[in-house]
Amino acid sequence: MNKRGEMIGLETLLFFLLNLAFMVVLMIFILNSSYGALVYEQTYAKQIVLLIDGAKTNTDLGIDMTNAIEVARKYISTNKAETSDEILKRAIIIDKEKGTITVSLSGRGGYSYKYFSGYDVNLETAGVILKINVREKENA
């Protein structure tokens, strides 16, 4: 009787734990998605590319990345003392050879978009501002 009672108790516990695990995993997934990293990655990548494409040579542009930094902090910043500059340097990647901008806020890949500008494009950070410098190519 005791053995059978113990078995039923164990089964109920296992059933409860599996349900709980399912709910927790689902809630974590929904919570992570609700930060909107996928949307921010895409919109920032496209916004930066449009700014680069629209810029003439010898132009300096600035874009406020506050929202991107806040989202990135929720995902990839384990170090509380990490500055906005450090987060931006890690999250915004430029590939000059391929002419692409990649924004990665979640730390699990990112969104990549091409710019058609043939100028020399450099990215710098100043706090929450991402500076885009567009210059004539030196070998051009």
Binding site: F22, I30, S33, L38, T102, S104, G109, Y113
Partner: protein, 178 residues
């Protein structure tokens, strides 16, 4: 009889547990799919890109209302002149432009970048309501002046610019490789 009922009940409970987890998985997959579809929705910037490209071409081939003759003599120089990455306009490229000069209704000069199928695709896209994977094009025009054999002509410059760029999600490993 009592023991048979008990056995059925136990078997029924197990079956219910399996069925319960099956339902949970179906619900879970549904929620995950819904969330992913919602947050992966594409923000279409192709028309804006085409507009930016068109403005850029106008600003570099028209100076003080005069059409730059150098473009006619050496069309390929337009990429350097306008600061365009020529690789994206050829082969597997995703951008296109065409320059047309009209003298009244007569075509005076016309030249385009390599991906000529864009023009047809753009025409289809503008006629069809649901053509998501067709390029988006912008056509703009303005009057320009041009010296043709020392004769000053007023021509209509038309620029057709198109983009069919879809960004893509990349993995971290792919980023590190680059």
């Amino acid at each position: 009889m009592l023991s048979v009922n008990k056995m059925n009940k136990r078997g029924g409970e197990k079956l219910l547990a399996i069925w319960w987890f099956f339902v949970l998985i179906v619900i879970g997959v549904g929620i995950v799919a819904g969330v992913l579809i919602f947050y992966n929705a594409n923000v279409d910037a192709r028309t804006l890109e085409a507009q930016v490209l068109s403005e850029r071409i106008f600003s570099c081939i028209v100076k003080d209302n005069f059409f730059d003759k150098e473009v006619m003599n050496n069309f390929d120089a337009i990429y350097k002149k306008c600061g365009l990455n020529d690789k994206l306009f050829t082969g597997d490229g995703v951008f296109y432009f065409k320059i047309s000069l009209y003298d009244g209704d007569n075509l005076f000069y016309e030249k385009s970048s390599d991906l000529k199928s864009f023009e047809t695709d753009c025409a289809i896209a503008s006629e069809m309501k649901k053509a998501d994977y067709f390029p988006r094009c912008v056509k703009s025009s303005e009057n320009v002046l041009f010296y043709d054999n020392n004769e000053l002509k007023s021509l209509r410059l038309e620029v057709l610019a198109g983009s069919n760029q879809f960004g893509r999600r990349v993995s971290l490993a792919e980023n590190d490789k680059n």
